[in-house]
């Protein structure tokens, strides 16, 4: 039955689409293929999600080799939630890509762009579904290498520098990760994550376990842009093609957070390595630093894309803060914010891409009065901005509710105030946009702009509406996140 092969198809469909695009050498054909691949991936992810929503675990043996000798794809609610998120974003962004890429990427490279997009997607999905530490590294590299290329395709020459910066830091991150995995392999003799978790307690008094944890933590933190390891992110987001920014901002860092969760709560949790080590305070401190410092930096940006890039660093702080609480509420907040922030930032960057397409820039000093020239785009940015602030009836509110609840549950009222306090900084930078867009007289250049093309506006507004829909109907998102949190806290099985 084909349905029993869903886990591998999740990765293989976009992976096979990529070389096919290179063979076809046509931009239009490549886009069509990419749409087909992304939508198929979404359907597969939805199927997997439904399969494991009841608490099942799907174990798929590649080539029928039983684990731990063969590679196992092991999908529980955590993986499925993430795969659903990534493929949902990919499916929406690919529609948006057509016009945006046509304007921002040279014609002869279109088919390469879509090939890279498909590769990046398959890499991210691979990380989400695999149950093997080394296989995860391979997918991490696939997604990273393709995203370096995607970023470098930006029309601004600074995109090259940004991609190079990301390449260096990303490679350090991936290398650290593989060193950590290597150490664990030496200690346990296995690369299967579940098997590793089972064998680790026996060798946990070995100092190398600590070294492995340190390498993996720092390596993954680089990839997820944890403050202060976020330096690659603002430039990469600001100068990449708009569609790439929307796609990566909504998925790449989220997948890295998943890897972190997997290692902390599945692999290392049974080893007792966290006992007597002040890991939670370190994580909380770094998260708070991200929330406040990155938000404060965001306020003073002139480039709106950079502004929201710094805001992403801050929002990642919310996610890691929730995770570092280590409670059901905290983890639920962190995991649901993976989705909620992905939708919000996806919407924002897609709408900004519309302005970039029409005006060629998204600097505050150039977009004055844009609210009159591009009313739908601007109003969408305001609405998504409200979600970023966490106004009720938006997804941002749901995350904030659980995060504050988790802080109060710990008895740390000051942390609750820190969470809401940093969202006030979001009010400031969102309102900067409001004032520039609606109170300035449009320049002649802005005044003659047309609204963004429908093929971009519709997917972007779909995301905006998703910010509100999933803010009021939280069954799938909060339900999935809650189940994922409980599953993680139960530890390895």
């Amino acid at each position: 039955m084909i349905t029993s092969h869903l886990p591998i198809l999740q990765v293989v469909v976009p992976l096979m689409a990529a070389p096919l695009m290179v063979v076809l050498r046509s931009g239009a054909a490549a886009w069509t293929l990419a749409v087909a691949a992304s939508w198929t991936a979404l359907a597969i992810a939805a199927g997997l999600f439904l399969e494991v929503a009841g608490g099942n675990v799907v174990s798929y043996w590649i080539g029928s080799w039983p684990p731990p000798w063969g590679i196992e794809y092991r999908i529980d609610i955590v993986n499925a939630f993430l795969a659903l998120l990534v493929s949902f974003i990919a499916a929406v962004v690919i529609v948006y890509c057509r016009e945006s890429v046509r304007a921002e990427v040279p014609r002869e490279r279109h088919y390469l762009f879509y090939a890279m997009y498909a590769l990046c997607l398959s890499g991210l999905l691979g990380i989400a579904v695999t149950g093997d530490a080394f296989n995860l590294f391979v997918f991490l590299e696939i997604s990273s290498l393709s995203s370096y290329v995607l970023i470098a395709l930006g029309r601004d020459r600074r995109a090259l520098m940004a991609a190079y910066q990301y390449l260096i830091l990303g490679t350090i991150g991936a290398t650290f990760y593989v060193i950590g995995v290597g150490l664990l392999y030496l200690l346990t003799g296995t690369l299967n994550l579940a098997d590793m978790a089972a064998r680790l307690p026996a060798v946990s008094d070995h100092r190398s376990v600590l070294a492995a944890l340190a390498f993996i933590t720092v390596g993954i933190s680089l990839k997820l842009a944890l403050f202060p390891l976020h330096l690659w992110l603002p430039n990469a987001y600001a100068y990449a093609p708009s569609a790439v920014t929307a796609f990566l901002a909504a998925t790449a860092t989220k997948v890295s957070v998943y890897v972190l969760l997997r290692f902390y709560f599945t692999v290392f949790s049974g080893s007792g390595i966290f006992d007597d080590r002040p890991l939670a305070p370190i994580w909380i401190t770094l998260s708070l630093a991200a929330m406040f410092i990155a938000s404060a930096i965001a306020i003073f940006q002139n480039n709106v894309k950079r502004l929201f890039a710094y805001s992403s660093v801050a929002q990642i702080g919310y996610i890691t803060l929730g995770v570092s609480f280590g409670s059901v509420y905290g983890l639920t907040a962190g995991i649901v914010h993976l989705f909620n922030h992905a939708v919000t930032k996806g919407a924002l960057f897609m709408l900004l891409g519309g302005i970039a397409l029409r005006l060629g820039t998204v600097r505050f000093d150039a977009i004055g009065g844009i609210g009159r020239a591009m009313p739908f785009t601007s109003f969408g940015i305001v609405l998504a901005g409200l979600s970023l602030i966490g106004v009720p009836a938006t997804v941002g509110f749901v995350s904030k509710w659980y995060l504050v609840l988790a802080a109060l549950e710990r008895g740390d009222a000051w942390l609750a105030f820190a969470v809401v306090g940093s969202s006030l900084l979001a009010v400031v930078y969102v309102w900067r946009f409001v004032e520039v867009a609606y109170f300035r007289e449009p320049t002649t250049e802005v005044a003659r702009l047309r609204e963004a093309p429908l093929s971009m506006l519709v997917p972007a507004w779909l995301m905006v509406l998703a910010c509100f829909y999933f803010g009021l109907d939280t069954g799938v998102t909060l339900g999935g996140a809650g189940a994922a949190a409980e599953s993680l806290l139960r530890g390895p099985r």
């Binding site: 904030k400 009222a413 609750a416 006030l424 939280t474 909060l478």
Partner: protein, 495 residues
């Protein structure tokens, strides 16, 4: 129609009205008709719920579950009923007035204005009928956001700054304090439904209760308890009908309404009446009453004077709620209604004076009563209501509030009320006196400063301000409906 449908209709009708108003933007007459029809329809809808509530019914409607244990839900209880009747009724009058004002002053962006106004009323209905704190918070924030374009209507630098203060203080305080207070309540009580007798009974320490109350009172920035009041005078930059309905009735009353509702249905009057940690509230609100009155006394700008008078009068409601006696709670509920009628009249008059005579300062008003007798007569009634003199409705609510202060034996509060009454008289009566009995001074000149005379403002405005002034008098003679609703608020069990 079932009661549940009616409640949802009360929020949905103005929302639908907003869409239709936007659709009719090419034909102003049709657009204004839509506003008036929507307002009338809304009032009928709201009024049709009243008999059920008076009979002790508490119509309830859950719209959708949002998070586990938390849903978007409406429940009509007496206080919300009173607030909804007030806001929807005054919307009709205010719409009439708006038409006169916006056209008389040739304002731009009128479609946006009417759309936002309808959205603001929809949010207000949501606040009035909110069945739990989540629903209340949702519509509370929505009200701030949809009134922002009204405050910044003129798009000037001053409007932009006022808008910054408006969003900054209202959104800021609500996220920083109110949201935390709501989640804290949820963490303690496991429910955020409005429940007669409160939900916090029993398991909350004295200190926590005091802290929680502070988070609520200062988190609800719309109640304008000092020091969270600065946004209100700043918001006066808006067109006058906005100041009249929103910043004298809907928005600010949503604030004190929320405070009162939370004291009654979340804390529970009996639960906190023995607690020492809540004793600070009468003093903070008492200070606001006096301090704001003094600022009002020193303001020459008429709208600014009215704004500070509003700050002061809002704290009447907060102080009355803080006294925690049945009589003062009744007084608080009544004062929401009586102050609304009085203050909207005064703002209507200020707008009429601006439209007809282009005057904004108190010192320019000498002798204006002869040119605008209807307007200044209405102004007099509004002023008397705020001072608390019969035959205006303000007397009734003040009577209950002061009786409550006596009942509580809170002489400091009683002193505050007496002093503030004197201050109210001191900043209103000179206006009335100079309008009617002083000859236009040489400095002010006759006419409107353009060398020609003026009479009354356009007729829709005069009709509107006469109507509200008349209602204020009518409410003095026939206070049964609000009184009955207010009494139910303090009854041990509904009905």
């Amino acid at each position: 129609m079932t009661a549940g449908t009616l409640i949802v209709g009360a929020v949905a009708v103005p929302l639908a009205g907003a869409v239709l108003i936007a659709a009719a933007h090419r034909t102003p007459n049709l657009r204004e008709t839509v506003t008036l029809v929507t307002a009338g329809l809304l009032f009928l809808l709201v009024a049709s719920i009243v008999p059920d509530v008076l009979a002790g019914g508490r119509p309830h409607q859950t719209l959708l579950p949002v998070m586990p244990g938390i849903s978007l839900a409406f429940t009509v209880e007496p206080l919300g009923m009173l607030f909804a009747v007030l806001a929807s009724g005054l919307w009709i009058v205010n719409s009439l007035y708006s038409i006169g004002y916006m056209r008389g002053n040739g304002e731009a962006h009128q479609t946006r204005y009417y759309v936002c106004f309808a959205l603001a009323i929809a949010s207000t209905m949501g606040i009035a009928f909110a069945g739990n704190l989540f629903t209340l918070f949702l519509f509370y924030e929505a009200l701030t956001l949809v009134t922002y374009p009204l405050v910044t209507h003129h798009g000037t630098e001053e409007a932009k700054r006022a808008g910054r203060l408006y969003i900054g203080m209202l959104i800021g305080s609500s996220i920083l304090f109110l949201l935390v207070a709501i989640i804290w309540t949820w963490a303690i009580a496991g429910t955020i439904e409005f429940t007669p007798g409160g939900v916090l009974g029993g398991n909350v320490s004295n200190a926590t209760m005091g802290l929680l109350l502070a988070l609520y009172v200062f988190g609800i920035g719309k109640a304008a308890v000092m020091p969270v009041h600065r946004w209100l005078p700043a918001a006066m930059v808006a067109p006058t009908p906005v100041s009249a309905l929103l910043h004298a009735v809907a928005v600010v009353k949503a604030g004190v309404f929320s405070v009162l509702k939370i004291v009654v249905y979340v804390f529970g009057v009996e639960t906190i009446s023995g607690m020492t940690s809540v004793d600070w509230l009468p003093f903070v609100s008492g200070f606001t009453i006096i301090a704001a009155s003094i600022v009002a006394l020193r303001s020459d700008n008429l709208k600014r004077r009215l704004a500070y008078s509003t700050v002061s009068q809002l704290s009447y409601v907060v102080l009355a709620a803080a006294l925690l006696t049945p009589l003062s709670v009744i007084g608080a509920a009544l004062h929401i209604a009586t102050h609304a009628l009085g203050k909207i009249t005064l703002f209507f008059c200020a707008g009429a004076i601006y439209t007809a005579a282009h005057k904004t300062e108190v010192s320019q008003l000498a002798g204006i009563g002869r040119r605008m007798p209807w307007t200044m007569a209405a102004f007099t009634i509004g002023a008397l209501s705020l001072i608390g003199v019969p035959p205006a409705a303000g007397f009734v609510s003040k009577w209950f509030i002061m009786s409550g202060a006596l009942q509580a034996g809170h002489y400091a509060a009683l002193t505050v009320f007496v002093v503030s009454t004197l201050l109210n008289a001191a900043y209103f009566l000179p206006i009335v006196y100079s309008a009617f009995f002083r000859v236009p001074g040489a400095g002010a000149g006759g006419g409107d400063g353009h060398g020609h005379g003026h009479g009354e403002a356009p007729w829709p405005m005069v009709v509107a301000l006469t109507a509200t002034a008349a209602s204020s008098v009518a409410l003095f003679f026939f206070p049964e409906l609000p009184l009955q609703l207010a009494r139910q608020l303090v009854a041990r069990s509904p009905g």
